[in-house]
Point group: C2
Chain length 391, copies 2
């Protein structure tokens, strides 16, 4: 099993340091560590949706709070594209806390005095769960592009094996935004007897053409970089130009025009009129976001995970989407963000219309898609109230 040593300094999907100041003043879960268990073995391999087979799958996860004797007080948190299992607490002194720390802890919305909150790195991720950077036990070398193609459904199957291992009978809730929200909805369709509620945030029922297009140009940025070496780059030498550009492209869809205008407007970093130097703050910001991701994420993994997102269609092979959604009988809190251009509110409205027991909560924010990683107080109050209603 391979463990990466990347720090979580930049905590999860989208840098939003300002969020720190909005953090819930209640308690922290304190020092935490990422644990790893095996959920697939040669005798119990993971059979993937598109036909691949993994004979070894390790899952990296963290757990905050105590599972009760009935195993029914757990909440599963699903992370977004570049996130990790490190959702709360700190690994070491001085480190920034996990990516959803303001929501998870004693007395917080996901109250670790009451719930056992579980977060695992997705299948194919690069934060400890088996993926393209892992060693292929058959060859002793990293899989890289020989890793089989996997899907959101496969990620959920791995999570199901994890909660089985942990002794969870039914999950009180499955919650997550963006790619995390895809997993949430898949959970509801795939394992309805294993959960009692869902909270999909800033996501729809299938990936749109526009969202696919954005992922595709990001992938092309990576694969066009000669330093990608057809996927064979040394893992310590990421194709930084391509991966950085991919991140910069994505950032423009994670934020809104309004928030970028308010934050950067036409502020210049330099009076230079050099054609090739950054003139404006926004250019410098995008570049910085790229550099930050390159330090903590793997380029091949980015290719695989964005493919999994593009393939995401809750109804694939299951009949009509409306029937699939109408069959989800657990209570759902559907959350959307008015300024989200990547997964706009009309996608959540579709979920609301078709899910039999759904209620809607808007995150009122100018920040676009990333608001679920920024507007913690709003998310907290909605999630807290919803969880109170879940029996």
């Amino acid at each position: 099993m391979m463990r990466r040593t990347l720090t979580h300094e930049t905590w999860g999907d989208h840098a939003a340091l300002l969020a720190r100041s909005q953090a819930d003043p209640r308690g922290s879960v304190g020092p935490v560590s990422t644990q790893v268990i095996d959920v697939a073995t040669p005798r119990d391999p993971l059979l993937l949706q598109y036909g691949g087979v993994l004979k070894h799958v390790a899952v990296a996860f963290e757990i905050y709070g105590e599972l009760n004797a009935d195993g029914d007080n757990a909440i599963l948190v699903c992370h977004a594209l570049t996130g990790s299992a490190h959702a709360a607490g700190v690994h070491s002194r001085g480190e920034l806390p996990g990516w959803w720390d303001p929501l998870i802890g004693p007395g917080k919305a996901l109250d670790t005095n009451r719930y056992a909150v579980i977060c695992s790195n997705v299948l194919g991720g690069c934060y400890g769960t088996t993926g393209p950077t892992s060693l292929n036990p058959d060859t002793g070398k990293p899989y890289r592009l020989t890793f089989p193609r996997f899907t959101i459904r496969d990620m959920v199957e791995v999570q199901r094996r994890l909660i089985d291992h942990l002794g969870v009978s039914t999950l009180k809730a499955v919650i997550g935004g963006s790619m995390g929200g895809m997993q949430v909805l898949e959970w509801a369709v795939r394992c309805p007897d294993r959960l009692r509620s869902i909270v999909p945030i800033a996501i729809g029922a299938r990936h749109s053409a526009w969202a696919i297009g954005l992922n595709e140009v990001a992938r092309r940025a990576i694969t066009s970089d000669p330093a990608w070496w057809q996927g064979e780059y040394p893992l310590a030498e990421q194709p930084e130009v391509g991966l950085g550009l991919a991140r910069a492209i994505a950032m423009l869809s994670y934020r809104s025009m309004t928030s970028l205008e308010a934050k950067f407007g036409r502020e210049r970093v330099s009076a230079s009129r050099d054609l090739l130097s950054a003139s404006f703050e926004i250019e410098s910001y995008l570049s910085y976001q790229g550099v930050k991701l390159v330090r903590r994420f793997d380029a091949n993994t980015y290719l695989y995970l964005t493919r999994a997102m593009d393939d995401y269609d809750l109804a694939e092979g299951r009949g009509k989407l409306s029937a699939v959604l109408r069959g989800v009988m657990v209570p759902a809190l559907v959350m959307g963000i008015h300024s989200d251009v990547l997964y706009p509110e009309h996608e959540q409205k579709q979920l609301l219309e078709l899910l039999p027991k759904a209620r809607y909560a808007a995150i009122n924010s100018p920040h676009g898609h990333d608001a679920f990683l920024i507007e913690f107080p709003q998310v907290a109050v909605q999630v807290r109230n919803f969880l109170e209603s879940v029996v």
Copy 2:
């Protein structure tokens, strides 16, 4: 003077072949040719806004209809980022007509029986006007990155020299969308005594942080391509990966999520699960758009023109934007597109609020920014009615 032989098969800025079927059934201007004149010479050089000097500037232009004796029946059409002077008619048999052909011709909105319609390739363009692909007379080699930085203001100065040369006293109107709209507004501020009305379409008063960011990632796509050779690529060997990727990124902002969803949705081009092959129609479409642009456009020129767009701020060095716009005393027809995410309607609403003699016309379209190159009947009726009101 350098002339490029690129065809206009792909007519102007944004491929929208469906637009052909909506074309005004009235007359075509028929066969046309691009003319070229010199507007700067060593004795009358062009002094650029940011300090550069051009001792030779040739301008490529087309004119449809006859200028009257008073020289006051001309309409100047300004093109967008990758457009050219070829706005109407055909250069040769079998060729697709100019990029705004449905609007320009006898009996059409820009009625060549009444008006002399002029369109010129912008300063720094690669369709016949002096730019980075032109030969530097001092060296005998193409300028490439030694071409001086230029701005929207410089483009307008070149156009002003052109209409002087042609004997135009005052322009009946200056009209254009996107980067063309930037020129339109600059005309109104810079040369109020030379025009009687303006029609800025799908543009605002200054480039937003988001729009700058999109241009920047497109530029990085080009400059990251090793085949760009720091700008020194042979002109017949464009950095096709980078320029194609730049175009693909831009296309996602030229269309709307709604229109891409309606056109492509989740249609697959292939059942293959190969990680690196296009799976979805939208991927194939974006790739195709890139290939088309590479055939007809120059990568260095793309860098320069997007910089000019990013530097665009009508108020730069002129005091407050509100005062600048309030000083524009000519009638204005401001057109916007509800589904435009690149230059959204709030930017046009600002123009409407501040321009003293403005009226607003919405282009009702799901197609996003590109709608001004697609929804010809709507543009035609608004422009025709507006021009009737201009004295």
